[in-house]
Subunit: 88 residues, 2 copies
């Protein structure tokens, strides 16, 4: 649920808006990317979303992990970054 899939061509501002929106609704968000270009766009978007949420008083932290996903019948390793409010 709420996994935001990012590609190398994703616009960082759009992804950042999605991350901030999901955080506001669900208090956690997951960003998933496969490949260097996508991982870079995803992380940049999280930094931008961190700025948006900081303005609302929410300080976020990230927990990255590898996940295996199947795409077109092929097993691929994605990076998934869990975004959460910083534990108090």
């Amino acid at each position: 649920m709420n996994v935001i899939k990012v590609s190398a061509r994703s616009r960082t501002a759009a992804v950042a808006g999605a991350v901030a929106g999901v955080m506001r609704e669900a208090n956690r968000a997951e960003v998933q990317a496969i490949g260097a270009g996508a991982v870079n766009q995803g992380l940049k978007a999280i930094i931008i979303a961190k700025g948006y949420l900081a303005e609302e008083g929410v300080d976020i932290i990230c927990t990255p992990s590898f996940v295996e996903v199947e795409i077109d019948g092929q097993e691929r390793t994605a990076i998934r970054v869990l975004v959460e409010p910083r534990p108090q």
Copy 2:
């Protein structure tokens, strides 16, 4: 201090070892990367280091940010990821 600089050609296992080593010594580490390939290697290394440190009972979190750095007289935007133990 303790900024681990990662390039697109950095070996993830070597960077992961550095991150885990700095965490053990200083209880925080910073990983800096410029460009998609470097950011990808850095994040993969952090995930691997997270596994190493989890075996020692240390659960880590990440806080990414943009930082401006000067390289060969040129201003570049790097991504820096602060690694810390998860606040209890």
